[in-house]
C-alpha cells in the first residue's frame, strides 16, 4: 500500500475525532474519569463535610474558605454533596450497565443460538421494547415500580437492554458460521464451551464499546429523572436532585444550579470522549453516531 493511500486512510479515521487533537483530549477525559472514580470511592475521606448535615444557620452562603462552593438552602456543604453525588451517578450507571449486559447476553445469545421460532419470538419481544422512546419506557417503569434509586437502575436497564440484545444476537449469528467456531465444534467442544471460549470474548468487546458510548447518555437519564423527582430521592446527594433542590433559588443563588450541572456536563463529556476513543481503538468498523 502506498504512503499516500495510508495517509488518506489515516485522515479518514481522524475525521471523527474531536476538534482538539485526540491524544490530549483523551488524556484529559481519562484524567476527569479518574477524578470521578476517586471522588466516588473515597468520598467519605475527601469530602470536607457530611453531605447531609443540615446547618440552617449557614444556609445559602456564598463560596468561602470554609465552604469552597458555598452552601445550599439547608446549609449543607455544596462541594461535599457534589463529591458524594459522583457515587450515585457512577454507581447507578455502572449497575445499570451490568444489568443490561447480563440481560442482553442472555436474551440475545439465546435468540441467536436457538434460531428458528424461539429466535423469532424473542426478537418480536425485543421489538416491543424498541417501540418505546427510552425515556418514556423509563417513566412507565418508574410509574409502576415507584421512585427510588433501585427502581431507576431497573428502569434504565430495561429501557436499554433490547438494543444490546439485538446486537448480541447479530454477533452470535455472524460468528456461528465462522471457521474458528466450526473448527472448535468439529473438535468436539460443546455448545456451551464454544459460547464461553469463543463467542463470549468477542461479544463482550463489542458490548463494552457500545456501553462506553452510552455511559454519558445514561448519566443524563438518571439525573433527568432525579431532577423530576422520580429518580433518586432527596435528601440523597445526587446531581439531578441538587439541581431540582436549587430551583427555588435560581434568582438568588444561581450557583447552586451551575455547580451540579457543570459536574454533569464535564462527566458526560469525558465519557463521550472516552467512548469515541474506545470505539476507534477496539472497533473501527462501528462508526456513525450511536444513539437511541
Amino acid at each position: 500500500m502506498s504512503v499516500a493511500s495510508l495517509d488518506a486512510r489515516a485522515s479518514r479515521r481522524r475525521m471523527w475525532r474531536l476538534p482538539i487533537r485526540d491524544s490530549w483530549a483523551v488524556r484529559i477525559a481519562l484524567f476527569i474519569v479518574a477524578l470521578l472514580a476517586i471522588a466516588a470511592i473515597a468520598a467519605p475521606w475527601i469530602a470536607p463535610y457530611d453531605p447531609d448535615a443540615v446547618d440552617l444557620a449557614r444556609r445559602l452562603q456564598s463560596p468561602s474558605l470554609s465552604h469552597w462552593l458555598g452552601t445550599d438552602h439547608l446549609g449543607r456543604d455544596e462541594l461535599s454533596r457534589l463529591i458524594y453525588g459522583t457515587r450515585v451517578s457512577l454507581g447507578s450507571v455502572a449497575l445499570s450497565i451490568v444489568l443490561i449486559l447480563a440481560l442482553a447476553i442472555a436474551v440475545g445469545g439465546l435468540s441467536g443460538y436457538m434460531g428458528g421460532r424461539i429466535d423469532q419470538a424473542i426478537m418480536r419481544f425485543c421489538d416491543c421494547f424498541l417501540a418505546f422512546p427510552t425515556i418514556v419506557l423509563a417513566l412507565f417503569l418508574i410509574g409502576i415500580l415507584g421512585t427510588g434509586m433501585v427502581n431507576v437502575i431497573i428502569a434504565i436497564a430495561l429501557s436499554h437492554f433490547a438494543w444490546y440484545a439485538r446486537m448480541v444476537r447479530g454477533l452470535v449469528l455472524s460468528f456461528r458460521q465462522r471457521d474458528f467456531v466450526l473448527a472448535s465444534r468439529a473438535a468436539g467442544a460443546s455448545r456451551v464451551r464454544v459460547f464461553f471460549e469463543h463467542l463470549f470474548p468477542a461479544i463482550m468487546a463489542q458490548m463494552i464499546v457500545l456501553a462506553t458510548l452510552d455511559i454519558g447518555h445514561m448519566m443524563l437519564h438518571v439525573a433527568g429523572l432525579s431532577f423530576l423527582g422520580l429518580g433518586v430521592q432527596p435528601p440523597t446527594a445526587e446531581w439531578g436532585v441538587m439541581i431540582g433542590d436549587a430551583r427555588p433559588f435560581v434568582w438568588s443563588m444561581p450557583m447552586l444550579i451551575l455547580w451540579p450541572g457543570l459536574a454533569l456536563l464535564l462527566s458526560v463529556m469525558a465519557f463521550n470522549i472516552l467512548g469515541d476513543a474506545v470505539r476507534d481503538r477496539l472497533d473501527p468498523s462501528l462508526h456513525g453516531d450511536h444513539q437511541h
Binding site: L18, P19, A131, P133, L139, L141, W251, I257, P260
Partner: protein
Amino acid sequence: MAGFILRRLLLLIPILLGVSILMFVILRMAPGDPAVAYLKLSSIPPTPSAVAEARQTLGLDRPILAQYVSWLSNAVQGDFGVSHVTRRPVIDDILHYLPATLQLAGAALLFTLIVSVPLGIWSARYKDRWPDQLVRAFAFVGVSTPNFWLGFLLVLLFSLTLKWLPPMGKGGWQHMIMPVLAVSFMSLAINARLLRASMLETASARHVLYARLRGLGDRQVERSHILRNALLPIVTATGMHVGELLGGTLVIESVFGWPGIGRYAVSAIYSRDFPVIQCFTLFLVTIFVVCNLLVDILYAWLDPRIRLNAEAAI
C-alpha cells in the same frame, strides 16, 4: 409504493398490540397490589373487605386474559378508564394536555432540521478550517449538555440578566424560544455531526468524482450530487430524534412550566395513578411509532433503491 405503505401500516397493529400486552403484563407483575394503591389514592383505609371490594370494582379478580381483553376493547373505543386521583376519564385529560406537548416537540423538530442541515453543510464544506472546528466544538458540547440544566442557563441569561424573554408559561412565540432551544440542542448537535460525516463520506464516492470530472462547479456538485445522498442518514436519524425530542419535552416542560402532558404524567407517576400512566405511555409510543413509519415511507420515497426493491417484492 402504495403496497409498501399499506404493508408498513398493517405492521403497526402487531407492534402496538405487543406494546399494550407488554405494558399490561408489567403492570400486573409489579410489586404491590393495584387495589391497595387505588384505595390509598382514594384515602380509604385498606381493610381486607375494602381491598376485596376494590379488586372487584377494578376487575382484578378476573383472569388476567379477560382483564386484558376488556381493557383492550374499551381502549379501542377510546375509553382508558378513570384517573384514580381526579376521577375524570383519563382520555379527556390526556387530550387536554397533549397538544401543548406536541406543539413544543414539533417546533423543536422543525428547529433541529432547519438549523442542523446548514451547520452540517457548512462544517463539511470548510472541513478542518475554522467553521468546521466551530461546528464540531458546538456539536461536541451539545451532545453532552443536560437539557434541563441548559433550560436554567437560558432562563438565567435571557430572562434574569437580559430580561428579553419570559421565564415561564405558555403564551406568544417568545415563550417558545427557550424551551425549543433546550429541547432541540442535543438532536441538533447529533444531526449536524451526522450530516457532516455523511457528506464527507459521499464526497469521496465515484459519482462525485465523475461529476467533478465533467467540470461541474463545487457548489453544484455539493448541492445535487453530495447533499441529496448525504441527507438520507439524516432522514433515518430523524425518526430516532422524535423519541428524544418527545422525551426531552417531558423533562423541559417542568423547567419552563409548560402546560403539557409531561407535568401531568410526572404527577401521575408520583401518585402511581396506573390508568393515567398506562394511557400516557401508550399515546407517546403510538406517536413515536407513527412518526417512525412516516420516516420509513419518506426514506423509501427518497431512495429509489429501496422503493424499487419494495415494489419488486410485492
